[in-house]
């Protein structure tokens, strides 16, 4: 199978806002359940161990006409909750049995309560995570939260989630993390062979497919990409930061590439790469997931940096390890975490002579010319003067 064939399938999944693949998965066995989750991170291993399908919801993008959703939000609130409500009210998510709202910002937090009011009877959980990274403080709290999630899913499915099932699920997701990192690694090494628009679609497919199927897809893509014949361009290597929740339209990613930038790292759909290393498959699986969260999570604006000197460290490491020449801060309009974080990260970039630019987008942005011009000028300035 060629990369084009694989990406064509991914694109079809990406555009399918009725989630047909997830529906079919569920219809194959009446006992199956689907648990949806929003950005930025949930421990999908627990859902998987319950025999359920974790389904990532990233809003409606630019392919969904939001009719009902806008009536629930003021003009100064971002797009993702509107289109998510639209997905719910338009019955596109009527097959979903439960929904997790991770701790990311006040809008998504409040959406959890709205979901309870709008869809009574559905399993809804606000998934809180510790901002204290001590094993005996934040760790104990988080382990108990994970156990509450486990119990909630057990209640929903009517069956126990065993430790063995959890260990097996952790192993499957470890493999997923390995393959995802391999794709990202390949893109960083040879971005002319692995365009970011393809990487993006590959990762989006991982939100709606069973993990085993996604693993197979990633393996096939990696093999096929080796055979791609493409010429290296004199593009500038950039890291994208700030796009961890509401996603940009695919055209925005393509526009950045067309403007002369190779995206060599990003924070799109960070659920796939939230944990930087494999989670231990021995011992207490809940404890292992908890420790992995405390000590192996990537840095992002939704998290607290408990030391001032840690602010921007991860971003600078992304720049260094991917030999990036600049950073593009691309945040959704009205995104509190990304926009509040940006001045601190920008200061770090300045201190380390890393060039950067900033712009905002919405998931349904249609006009790409300004983005293309800004990114193009940025790339030119780096090539000419950096």
């Amino acid at each position: 199978m060629s990369t084009a064939d694989i990406i064509a399938r991914c694109e079809a999944l990406y555009e399918d806002l009725d989630f047909t693949a997830a529906r079919k998965w569920k219809e194959a066995d009446p006992s199956r359940k689907v648990i949806a989750y929003m950005p930025v991170y949930v421990p999908r291993e627990i859902i998987h161990a319950a025999g359920m399908l974790p389904l990532g919801i990233m809003g409606g993008g630019d392919g969904l006409e939001v009719i009902h959703g806008d009536a629930y939000y003021q003009s100064y609130i971002c797009r993702i909750p509107r289109s998510t409500i639209e997905l719910g009210l338009s019955k596109r998510m009527d097959f979903v049995d439960g929904m997790l709202f991770p701790s990311i910002c006040d809008v998504i937090r409040n959406l959890s309560g709205m979901w309870k009011l709008l869809f009574p009877g559905k399993y809804v959980r606000y998934f809180d995570v510790p901002q204290n990274y001590r094993d005996d403080v934040g760790g104990s709290y988080y382990t108990n939260e994970l156990n509450e999630l486990r119990e909630g899913l057990e209640h929903l499915s009517g069956r126990k989630i065993t430790d063995d099932a959890l260990r097996a699920s952790i192993a499957v997701y470890n493999e997923n993390r390995r393959l995802v990192q391999a794709v990202y690694g390949m893109r960083s090494r040879e971005p002319w062979k692995v365009p970011s628009s393809e990487v993006y679609l590959l990762m989006r497919a991982g939100l709606v497919l069973p993990v085993e199927e996604h693993n197979q897809m990633l393996s096939e893509y990696l093999a096929a990409a080796e055979n791609v014949k493409a010429s290296k361009r004199d593009n500038c290597r950039v890291v994208i930061n700030g796009s961890f929740c509401e996603q940009p339209p695919l055209n925005l990613i393509k526009s950045i590439e067309l403007a002369g930038c190779y995206i060599v790292d990003d924070d799109y759909m960070i659920v796939h790469r939230w944990l930087r290393n494999p989670v231990s498959t021995g011992g207490d699986p809940m404890q292992n997931l908890s420790l992995a969260f405390l000590h192996e999570s990537i840095a992002t604006a939704a998290k607290y940096d408990d030391k001032e000197e840690d602010k921007g460290k991860y971003l600078l490491e992304q720049v260094r390890s991917n030999a990036a020449e600049g950073v593009i801060f691309a945040a959704p309009s009205f995104c509190d975490p990304a926009l509040l974080e940006r001045p601190m990260l920008a200061d770090r970039c300045s201190e380390h002579n890393v060039p950067y630019i900033s712009f905002k987008y919405a998931e349904n942005s249609g006009q790409m010319q300004p983005i293309r011009e800004q990114a193009g000028t940025f790339a030119d300035s780096i090539k000419l003067w950096s």
Binding site: Q74, L111, G113, P130, D136, G138, S333, D336, R342, M344
Partner: protein
């Protein structure tokens, strides 16, 4: 007549006392260079004033500084300074007013420069922005910072796990940091004494807020309410000053009830109570007086509000308990209004609508504050559905004068009051 041209603002003795208390705290804050006292900055929701006092530290609240600057109409320039420095136009204006204030020398209302904080107590309660705000301040001040994470009541309840987590953080992180910065050893009995004072003052605050069940209501529980909650939510809870303040204000309200008076406004006693409202959301501060005037000119009194619960839901039974000093601090933080989930908030507003016999709900939706604002349109529909009473929605901001449109708010309120009248006449006709 605009409030700006009114001859004299009417003040009662409790208002004078509160003004003196606030002025005294600013003098104390700006005098730390001479006194050697240490300063801790923290937030209003989840404000641990009793604990701060145990370490002889002075409490500085950036939110109230922003409010002061908003009411003195100087926040607009500060916000624009922060935006010029790279802070997004989309984010909270409290944050930008605070950062802009720093750039202008951090001048307190008494005209003297504020000291840099010796410590930041990041009480992460009911507002995500708090976390980034104090990271931004730490980025500027490079001072010790301690986080107290308060888990959100996603399922509408406080679990043992949440409470244990907060108590553990107090024991393992917060108190040790205070001891280190202040050099004062923690004394739990001292904390108990302050908590006793808190509970006394809280009893009277609740009495004052619930006095709005009278007809006419002797208080305005939103515009007037922000004065009543002032000492409790800021640097005074746990002090004897606060106990005295709430004794005084209770006596004043008792007198107003005896005399059958309505609320006191900046232009004197409100004459006729035509509309009784419940208000959800914080007020606008840059045009506070003009905003209030739009209500009392129409005979509208706010009988209950959610904003006066951001620093604790005392009217729902919570009291600081000296018998469980750390546990009670955890319960307090976990119970603040914006730490409640949306169904809880809807239930509370519905309860207020019924208990205070309100004619309707008004939502003042604040651009800066997603913690309050996200979901308010659904809350409005739910309240209308459950109570059958009309609701209205206006949009302003906290301290950004660019987002207060007097004409728009006035038009919206006038239409709303007409709607309440129509609903009433419809109800009377149906009864006849």
């Amino acid at each position: 007549m605009s409030a700006a041209t009114s001859p004299e603002v009417i003040k009662e003795p409790s208002m004078v006392k509160q003004k003196e208390m606030i002025a005294g705290n600013y003098d104390r804050l700006t005098g730390t260079k001479e006194s050697g006292e240490k300063v801790v900055s923290t937030f209003v929701p989840g404000n641990l004033n009793e604990l701060i006092m145990c370490f002889d530290m002075v409490n500085n609240l950036p939110e109230t500084n922003a409010i002061q600057n908003g009411m003195r109409k100087v926040s607009g320039g500060m916000i624009m300074d922060a935006e010029k420095a790279g802070h997004s136009e989309d984010v909270c204006t409290y944050v930008k007013a605070d950062i802009g204030m720093m750039g202008r020398g951090n001048i307190a209302p008494n005209g003297k420069p504020m000291p840099a904080p010796d410590m930041l107590l990041l009480s992460y309660t009911g507002c995500f922005t708090f976390m980034k705000w104090f990271e931004l301040l730490r980025h500027e001040y490079k001072c010790p910072t301690v986080m107290l994470q308060i888990p959100y009541q996603g399922d509408g309840k406080i679990t043992k796990n949440m409470r244990d987590f907060v108590v553990k953080q107090l024991k393992e992180e917060v108190i040790p940091m205070f001891e280190k910065v202040s050099g004062v050893k923690f004394d739990i009995d001292r904390l108990r004494e302050y908590l006793k004072n808190s509970a006394k003052a809280e009893d009277n605050l609740v009495w004052v807020l619930e006095s709005a069940k009278n007809r006419p209501s002797p208080i305005d529980a939103y515009f007037g309410g922000v004065y009543y909650i002032g000492p409790m939510f800021t640097a005074f809870r746990g002090t004897t000053d606060a106990v005295e303040y709430y004794d005084l204000v209770r006596k004043e309200i008792e007198q107003r009830i005896r005399e059958g008076k309505g609320p006191i406004t900046p232009e004197g006693d409100m004459k006729e109570e035509k509309y009784r409202l419940v208000v959800e959301g914080p007020p606008n501060w840059t045009s506070f007086r003009e905003f209030w005037k739009l209500f009392y000119d129409e005979g509208a009194v706010v009988v209950a509000s959610s904003y006066t619960k951001v620093g604790g839901l005392y009217d729902q039974g919570f009291r600081h308990d000296p018998n469980d000093p750390l546990g009670t601090l955890a319960d307090y933080c976990l119970g603040c209004y914006t730490n409640n989930n949306l169904p809880q908030r809807v239930e509370l507003l519905e309860k207020y609508m019924n208990d205070y016999q309100a004619d309707g709900l008004l939502i003042n939706s604040i651009k800066s504050c997603n913690s309050f604002s996200a979901g308010q349109l659904l809350m409005m529909r739910e309240i209308e559905k459950r109570t059958g009473k009309p609701a209205a929605f206006i949009e302003t901001d906290l301290v950004d004068p660019r987002y207060f449109s007097h004409a728009n708010v006035k038009n919206r309120l006038e239409s709303y009051f007409q709607m309440v009248d129509q609903k009433r006449s419809g109800a009377s006709l149906a009864a006849a």
